[in-house]
């Protein structure tokens, strides 16, 4: 996992560095400095990680396993449903989609009483809609209710 992170940081900072060489004027100076510095620091981090790897004993391996760096099932499900929510927001609209989102996540996270889940989902949606739409004058996507 650590090596994956190091690789991603190299790619990101490398991209920023490469692009910065193409900027006109002095627009590239600062990003070039910072991304260059990150590449150097990341190399130190890589060296440290390699050094630590050598020292790793069975005990620390077992501890690493116990701590488990893998994202949980909850993370994947919440992220997936949340991305879906954002994508569907313009076509379907806030007022219909939000209670559906709230209800599904609440059941997924272990909400048992149906009445609490349904009522709180609808109340939350209305309160937030009222707050942002009326008090703050923000155009929240209306979707199919636009008619």
């Amino acid at each position: 996992m650590a090596f994956g992170v190091i690789l991603v940081i190299y790619i990101v900072s490398g991209y920023f560095y490469y692009e910065s060489t193409k900027f006109g004027g002095d627009a590239g100076i600062f990003p070039k400095m910072v991304s260059g510095a990150i590449i150097v620091i990341n190399t130190i981090y890589l060296y440290q990680t390699l050094k630590e790897r050598k020292k790793i004993t069975e005990e620390t391996k077992a501890r690493d396993r116990a701590e488990s760096l893998k994202p949980s099932k909850q993370f994947y499900v919440i992220t997936a449903i949340s991305i879906l929510y954002v994508l569907l927001l313009p076509p379907i609209g806030f007022l219909i989609l939000t209670p559906l989102y709230l209800i599904s996540i609440m059941f997924f996270l272990g909400g048992k009483k149906k009445s609490i889940v349904f009522i709180s989902s609808i109340v939350f949606t209305i309160v937030i809609y009222f707050f942002f739409n009326s008090l703050l004058n923000i155009e929240i996507p209306k979707g199919v209710l636009k008619l």
């Binding site: 900027f23 910072v34 990150i38 130190i44 994202p71 919440i78 996270l109 272990g110 923000i138 929240i140």
Partner: protein, 508 residues
């Protein structure tokens, strides 16, 4: 002085008082619901402040900040679940008092101590901030650049775990801030042709993503669906500490308020240290130190006065030099900048009414806090057991709506989600979040000052670097980053020397 009075009149307008009241109320709720903390609360409030003029918006932010720090004590005392890291010490004595049937007294003491501690720090803020802000007038562009780097390096140096991870997070934050059209040359930088990135990555989306969405994931992963509370009975009779209690604790409260303020001024120290140091000082002064940690009312007083003192203290370096001492004030700095307010002398001259309004607001928020706190402690304590399954999706929806409210762009919500996922992995891999946020906030300041300095010196910074202020700042940056390591080395050397001496003595 005119500005101070003008600001007082402004703050006392009905409009601002309502905001102050609501902000403190919401802040207390944020504080006492575990999993919802001051950082998340302030982050989510930033987009709401756009609905108001700058002074009202900042009063709202500071009221939330102050309320949250106090609110954390309620859950700490009643159910041993500190709502904020700064309330961990409070829980030791406060929860034991609850078990002894003195929960009401502990709540009352927490409210009074929080009020006094916060107010003491507000007085220091009034007295110290204006003269300190004039310091920045002595600073040239290069010095301002170094100051920004100094602010960042303090947070990096104190980040828990490995410093190299803090350094990477901070530098990546600075790098992300370079996205968008360069204001000096008009160059499109890293926009990838997306119009939503022309103005750069939006600060609101980045902050809310990292902090609030991070909280959603964290809550979602909790094993138990609610935090179990034991049966709590707070009798109405003893909600207020009596005169004897006040006499016993009043010195401690004042001392702790001052300690907390200075802990707040010290960058990187923060709530936990403010309350811990105050508690330890009170214990040492006490005639019965053994009662501390076992339900000592003086312990609650020290811890709560200490952590609320931190709030005002942390605003001093923030408003004057732009150096935030902890995560919440880093986010608070974002709120200031979004309203076009840059820390420094101008805050106390050009924008004096807004700044003093903020300070008055903070002082009054502390007062509102005690009123709401004493009247509603029992109601707030129930919030501490809000089930996780209700809280997590609710925070997500508020995050989404808040991010969207910033610029009415759905692309911002996508950016928020991206940073939320990034934040989640950073927490998993033990990368600190604060340096990333702070780097992102301070990056543009650092860049513009550095480029200005390069223009003025025609690319040769060596003379600017040799100025006394620059040299001091460079020394401070090195110390901030490597201070703990240097200390360790010195201790090691001293130990070796001692050993050698002992060996030498043996040989003779």
């Amino acid at each position: 002085m005119d500005a101070v009075l003008q600001a007082l009149v402004n703050t006392l307008s009905i409009h601002n008082l309502v905001v102050l009241f609501v902000g403190t109320f919401v802040g207390i709720i944020v504080g006492c619901v575990p999993g919802f903390n001051a950082s998340v609360g302030v982050a989510l409030t930033i987009p709401l402040t756009f609905a108001f003029p700058a002074d009202t918006g900042l009063i709202l932010l500071v009221a939330i900040y102050a309320g949250a720090v106090y609110g954390g004590s309620i859950a700490a005392i009643l159910i041993n679940t500190p709502g904020e890291p700064g309330n961990i010490i409070t829980a030791m004595d406060g929860y034991n008092m609850t078990k002894n049937g003195q929960g009401g007294k502990a709540l009352g003491m927490a409210a009074i101590a929080s009020w006094i501690g916060g107010s003491i720090s507000a007085v220091f803020l009034f007295l110290l901030a204006p003269p300190l802000s004039k310091l920045t007038l002595l600073f040239g562009s290069f010095e301002m650049f170094l100051l920004a780097i100094f602010g960042l390096s303090i947070i990096v140096g104190l980040s828990k775990g490995s410093m190299i991870k803090g350094l990477l997070a901070g530098a990546l934050g600075v790098l992300f801030a370079t996205v968008g059209i360069d204001s000096l040359t008009g160059t499109y930088r890293y926009t990838m042709g997306m119009p939503s990135l022309y103005e750069g990555l939006p600060l609101v989306a980045v902050i809310i993503g990292l902090y609030s969405l991070g909280a959603v994931f964290e809550l979602g992963e909790q094993k138990s669906s609610t935090i179990q509370a034991e049966g709590i009975k707070v009798s109405k009779r003893d909600i207020l500490p009596n005169l004897q209690d006040m006499k016993k604790t009043i010195r401690t409260i004042f001392r702790s308020g001052v300690i907390g303020t200075f802990a707040g001024i010290t960058p990187g120290a923060g709530m936990s240290i403010g309350s811990a140091v105050s508690w330890e000082a009170a214990r040492r002064k006490s005639k019965t130190p053994e009662t501390f940690g076992n339900g000592e009312i003086e312990g609650v007083a020290a811890s709560e006065s200490g952590n609320n003192g931190v709030v005002g203290g942390s605003l001093i370096p923030l408003l004057t030099l732009g150096i935030p001492g902890n995560a919440v004030s880093a986010i608070f700095l974002g709120g200031l900048l979004i309203h076009g307010l840059r820390p420094g002398a101008a805050l106390f001259t050009t924008h004096a009414t807004i700044t003093y309004g903020l300070i008055w607001g903070f002082l009054f928020a502390n007062f509102v806090m005690i009123v709401i706190g004493l009247l509603g402690a029992r109601f707030f304590s129930k919030l501490a057991v809000v089930p996780v399954y209700l809280l997590a999706p609710l925070i997500f929806i508020i995050s989404t709506a808040g991010t969207f409210a910033d610029r009415n762009l759905l692309a911002d919500v996508a950016i928020m989600l991206t940073f939320g996922i990034l934040g989640y992995f950073m927490i998993k891999l033990k990368f600190p979040l604060v340096p990333l946020v702070l780097g992102f906030i301070l990056g543009p300041l650092a860049e513009s000052e550095l480029r200005r300095a390069l223009l003025i010196t025609q690319g040769d910074l060596s003379s600017a670097a040799m100025q006394p202020i620059s040299l001091i700042l460079i020394a401070l940056i090195i110390f901030a980053l490597f201070g703990t390591q240097i200390q360790k080395q010195i201790k090691k050397m001293l130990k070796m020397l001692k050993k050698q001496e002992l060996d030498g003595a043996k040989n003779i």
